[in-house]
Symmetry: C2
Subunit: 359 residues, 2 copies
């Protein structure tokens, strides 16, 4: 029996990927030169499919690096001279903040308790802030920040740059890209890919900023600084030898999702999220971690299980289903459930049935 | 008919990889958590197999990043306060030098004509040099620097660090790791893997240097700085979600090569290299680019073809074989031929027969 992975990333592989890999091997994609026309077709295909699927403006660049963690580093290097401002509500928001510190910047932050959202109206952004960093979907806690709330900061502070971590939600959130500067994600979450690609969508203004910093003699990194990434992306190539096979498969998955359509994808996720939240909200012992419905992630559902957690996880595994543990301090008392497209309504219903029958 | 890729990377896929990928998909490797025991087994398996195959001392660390280009950046960030010294004999040696400049260092270099080696005895290393950078196998020109020559610098300058780019030769060169500090390569060359991993073997002294620079308040990068890479590698994990599937396959290929044994691998490469060089040395029109036999790469063979190059490449492709073009200024007049383990003696003989029959 195959196991079903409800883990939040790496997660269940999208069902078409097996055949895409088979085809790729047959077509010897792994041997293709990254300086040839066939590769350029993969690169532009991937970029264009993502732009179409997620309604990304043509003037925005799409850069492919290797993990969302790398993206955080590149964003700080390329857009911050001194000061970024971070909305910290979990481990991955904190990682973004820590990276800024490690790179010698002087980041500021507003921090809330795990599982909570922000009282956005009350938050004052310092004048000296160059970049605002939001974790739109905090994989560690299942807290989602509504896109409109994030976008409203662009209206208040049009001169500041905005970066949005959508690692475990992209392409679910309906983002108005013209009100953001950098949106990034990794492919092993909602897209159901084997890990190995971090993707960032970058505004012309962000690239200008990096060129400005470079001119000032600042260190903005080397092969993956924004001007170099853009120079190569514009010719549908990368400076280094990239993971060509992974890129090919990502392109094929994007085409699969295009066929479903972004609105249908969102609706399917919503239906399954409602089922999962309803279940935990109405459970006599267990509960939903994120109590405020405004901030509940549709793609990462976190539940308080308490002392039973280990036994519950074992019971599910015996029945062929693996859910994630909680993160950090909640590792042994919570479970995290991915609600990604690879996990169909039928599969979620089976999980709920198992949870329901747990004694 | 399947095409045979004699291109120097990405190159012909190692023959066992198809079945490793099939098994990996069956075992759902792409869904494995990078925080679990199964992943730790892959990580330690990969590290240990590489150490055994290439006779790497136990106290050296093995770090997995995503490309050799990234490795160059990380080396400069982590081991150079101000000044590196580069032996430049082609495009990839130059890239290493350029990255040091981009990162705000003040690299020095000695440069020779393309296709030539160095007169090592005549080269004086400035006192202020912190790191010596060698491109042991220059993929752009087919020039190989003998490992003993590189190692002799450690005897002359024991206090300086030495980095060796073996991107397109590892694990062929018989390196005395105790006389080097960092050796790096990427997996899409000799190992015949789909691209997506850069590997560096790092001495304790290099890690000390990075910690020293960090203490001094220097920017040594964030998630992929040496102390962080080491902290995670020591527990057989990575801070970011790594390309787990790629790592699994690399581990399996390493096991395949271990069975053959490094000495046999080298002998097989030598036999095929001799055939290729003999052919071009004795050709009435074409010739070997690297004239000095001391500096001829056994793994990347570069030949001067001249005006016929385009026609020759087309003729080979019609017969199911793709060779690489020359690099940079020699793009249209040279061919580059990979002599990697995925390309068997029989395949090389077929190529030579085709070349022989070309009119």
């Amino acid at each position: 029996m195959k196991t079903v992975y409800f883990t939040v990333g790496p997660s269940q592989i999208y069902p078409t990927i097996n055949s895409h890999i088979k085809n790729a091997m047959k077509k010897q994609i792994g041997s293709l030169s990254h300086r040839g026309k066939d590769f350029e077709e993969i690169f532009s295909g991937m970029t264009n499919s993502l732009k179409t699927l997620w309604n990304i403006p043509p003037e925005y660049s799409v850069f492919f690096v290797t993990s969302a963690t790398e993206v955080m580093e590149r964003i700080i290097e390329n857009t911050v001279k001194k000061e970024s401002f971070h909305f910290v509500n979990g481990s991955f928001a904190k990682r973004f903040f820590d990276i800024a510190e490690e790179l010698g910047k002087q980041p500021k932050k507003v921090e809330v308790e795990l599982g909570k959202g922000f009282d956005f109206a009350k938050i004052k952004i310092p004048k000296s802030t160059e970049l605002l960093c939001f974790t739109q979907n905090e994989t560690s806690t299942g807290v989602m920040l509504p896109a409109e709330e994030i976008e409203s900061f662009k209206k208040l502070y049009p001169e500041k740059l905005i970066a949005i971590d959508t690692v475990s939600s992209a392409p679910y959130p309906d983002i108005d890209f013209t009100l953001t500067d950098i949106v990034f994600f990794s492919v092993q979450k909602v897209f159901g890919m084997p890990a190995g690609l971090g993707v960032m969508i970058v505004s012309p203004k962000s690239i200008e900023k990096s060129m400005f910093l470079q001119k000032k003699g600042m260190n903005i990194g080397s092969f993956h600084n924004f001007p170099t990434l853009k120079k190569w992306a514009d010719k549908n190539q990368t400076i280094e030898t990239p993971p060509v096979l992974e890129m090919y498969i990502f392109w094929k998955v994007l085409q699969d999702l295009e066929k479903i359509g972004i609105e249908n994808l969102r609706k399917q996720i919503d239906v399954k999220a409602d089922l999962l939240y309803d279940f935990f909200d109405n459970h006599p012992v267990w509960s939903t971690f994120v109590t405020d419905k405004t901030f509940r992630s549709p793609t990462v559902i976190v539940a308080n299980i308490g002392a039973q957690q280990k036994k519950l996880k074992e019971y599910l595994q015996t029945n062929g289903m693996i859910v994630g543990s909680g993160y950090g301090q909640n590792k042994d008392t919570q479970i995290r459930i991915a609600n990604f497209p690879a996990l169909t309504l039928e599969t979620i219903e089976k999980l709920l049935e198992l949870l329901h029958n747990y004694k």
